[in-house]
């Protein structure tokens, strides 16, 4: 079918155009990490000075590490708790279910500024205080709704008869979940995890309120730097992060299949 071929080619070209749009600012960010001017001034003059000075910037490096650690832990907790909750919302009918589903939206809808302030006051009031643990608490709570919404969207494509059939064949609840349900929703769980990572890793407002001197995350450092004394070291560290994550992701894609191929 010739038309199908042509449409498929259009599709491929379209995807590459979308990638070009998505990567345009990323490429500029990376280029500016090699530019002499700290104000993104052109013409472009090559330097690796910002990478050299980044190496000396302990504060930025430790903030980056904190961000990575918190994002990874957040991702793990959120995918586990979020998937469990989505399963419950998918499988069971009970009173107040609609309410529980609606409750997922306040954390997304209320500007993070307000949520962050609210957390600061509340954590301060109950003695949790500030610091990395408080940040982790906050990040998980912010990312959880995203995971539940995403996993639930995928679960809705799972025909309930499939679980029923497995049950009628004598599989217990755990077997049904691990052999039938989880493999089917895996792309959703992975996507949820990617969301959770993104929400945590780029989360600045809540981290900002909950961080203490020395216990900050990368976005907080970046924001503070933009106020005064911005340097392309920030572009440098962002570039390194993107390159490393890209390598990790492509490796994952090479060795681990998760697209839900049928």
């Amino acid at each position: 079918m010739a038309t199908t071929r042509i449409l498929e080619w259009f599709g491929r070209i379209y995807i590459w155009l979308l990638l070009a749009f998505l990567y345009l600012p990323i490429i500029i960010m990376a280029l500016m990490s090699f530019n002499v001017s700290p104000f993104y001034q052109l013409p472009f003059e090559w330097t690796t000075e910002w990478y050299a000075s980044l190496w000396q910037n302990d504060q930025l490096i430790s903030a980056t590490w904190n961000s990575v650690k918190i994002a990874v832990i957040t991702t793990v907790i959120c995918t586990v708790l979020g998937t469990a909750a989505s399963l419950a919302l998918y499988r069971y009918e009970f009173r107040g279910k609609k309410f529980l589903q609606a409750l997922l939206f306040p954390p997304i809808a209320i500007p993070w500024l307000i949520t962050g302030t609210a957390m600061l006051i509340f954590f301060f009031g109950v003695g949790i205080g500030r610091g990395l643990f408080a940040i982790l608490l906050g990040h998980v709570a912010l990312a959880l709704p995203y995971v539940i919404v995403v996993v639930s969207a995928r679960l809705q494509t799972l025909a309930p008869e499939l679980e029923e059939a497995a049950r009628s064949l004598g599989a217990n609840q755990w077997q049904v979940t691990s052999r039938v349900t989880l493999p089917w929703i895996m792309p959703g769980v992975i996507a949820g995890g990617l969301f959770a990572f993104a929400v945590s890793f780029d989360q600045f407002v809540v981290s900002y309120f909950l961080s203490t001197p020395g216990q900050t995350t990368l976005p907080v450092e970046i924001y503070a730097a933009i106020r005064k004394g911005f340097t392309p070291e920030i572009n440098a560290v962002s570039t390194i992060i993107i390159v490393i994550s890209m390598a990790l992701m492509l490796l994952t894609a090479r060795f681990f299949k998760f697209g839900g191929e049928k």
């Binding site: 104000f39 650690k69 995918t79 610091g131 001197p213 730097a225 106020r227 005064k228």
Partner: protein, 353 residues
């Protein structure tokens, strides 16, 4: 995806959390200030730590309101806080800061009397703030766009500059700027309608609102703007340190002046360290190095300013008696005033759309 065992998982969180829990140690000086504002310069911290044996831990704020919130929600954490003199009164009233024993700060004696005698920094004969530096919110120009620098604030309204003017996104600053443009006292604005009309006519001129030094410098580096409100210290830093084509203009109509001072929060665990730090911050040797290496506002310490080269901006321009006559220092603002200013500013911003 493999799920980790719950116990191992919880332990790892607990370990992670406890390893990073924060505790203020006795020989640490916790400083709360703007980022990139002198007190966090690595060379300065190193010199201070070497001289006194105290370790400096910096924390930052992005607005005065946030600074107050940080003090309210972290009693006992900070030893030194940098407060704009116009906010000192509020911090004092809320009992966030304590009286300072200036006899423990040898450099205090050299502070210019008009700064140390500021009524904003004392109450009941006790000193609550040690003046550090002062500066102006005046105009700055892109040198590439002007043959001769303008002398009047009206240049902001010049039709030829349309779409190449910037102003800071700050209600109080905008209203006070409007007061100067209409020939009023910034601390006692009688004719608010005039200010509003003046700012309304400014809006179509504006390219964008800036909020940080970095915004300004980026826009001038890419030649997107001609003129705008700017801080004196930042303009000097842009010119001398970053080599950008920026120069400060103190318009004949006047400019807004501010005074920054150090205070010691209530509950500080290291008052001696705090005093030593404040003393170091107003020391001429620190100041000269700060100006030379980074660019800074004007020190409140007369000896520090005198230690600068004769033609230094902070000595020649800012020390000019003619300048002193036309600047107006910001006085405290009540919450009601601040909200009224914000309402006006928001209305202007919405109507311009």
């Amino acid at each position: 995806m493999r799920m980790p065992k719950p116990t191992a998982f919880l332990t790892s969180i607990a370990v992670f959390a406890s390893a990073l829990t924060l505790a203020a140690k006795a020989d640490e000086v916790h400083v709360l200030n703007w980022k990139g504002y002198g007190a966090d310069e690595p060379w300065a911290i190193a010199a201070f730590e070497k001289a006194t044996g105290n370790k400096v831990v910096n924390d930052f704020f992005n607005s005065e309101q946030e600074m107050l919130t940080k003090l309210r929600t972290n009693p006992g954490l900070y030893d030194v806080v940098m407060i704009n003199a116009a906010f000192n009164d509020q911090a004092m009233a809320e009992k966030l800061i304590q009286p300072i024993d200036v006899s423990k700060i040898p450099n205090y004696a050299d502070i210019s009397p008009d700064k140390s005698g500021s009524p904003m920094l004392a109450r009941d004969g006790k000193v609550y703030g040690v003046p550090w530096v002062w500066g102006l919110t005046a105009l700055a120009i892109n040198e590439k766009s002007f043959e001769t620098p303008p002398t009047s604030i009206t240049e902001m309204w010049n039709e030829a500059r349309k779409g190449r003017v910037v102003i800071r996104d700050d209600a109080v600053e905008a209203v006070q700027f409007g007061a100067i443009a209409t020939g009023q006292n910034i601390n006692d604005i009688k004719d608010m309608e005039a200010v509003k009309a003046k700012l309304t006519s400014l809006m179509p001129q504006i390219k964008t609102f800036w909020s940080s030094e970095n915004d300004w410098n980026q826009m001038v580096a890419s030649n997107q703007i001609d003129i705008g409100t700017y801080w004196s210290g930042s303009a000097d830093r842009a010119k001398t340190h970053f080599k950008l084509p920026v120069s400060l203009v103190i318009p004949q109509e006047g400019a807004v002046a501010w005074l920054d001072a150090f205070s010691i929060p209530v509950g500080s665990k290291n008052v001696a360290g705090a005093e030593a730090f404040i003393n170091y911050m107003i020391d001429p040797s620190f100041y000269v190095e700060w100006v030379t290496k980074v660019g800074a506002p004007v020190s409140a310490n007369t000896k520090a300013v005198a230690a600068l080269p004769e033609d230094a901006f902070n000595r020649k321009v800012m020390g000019d008696p003619a300048v002193a006559k036309r600047i107006q220092f910001q006085a405290p603002i009540t919450d009601a005033q601040r909200e009224a200013y914000l309402a006006l500013w928001q209305e202007l911003k919405v109507n311009v759309k």
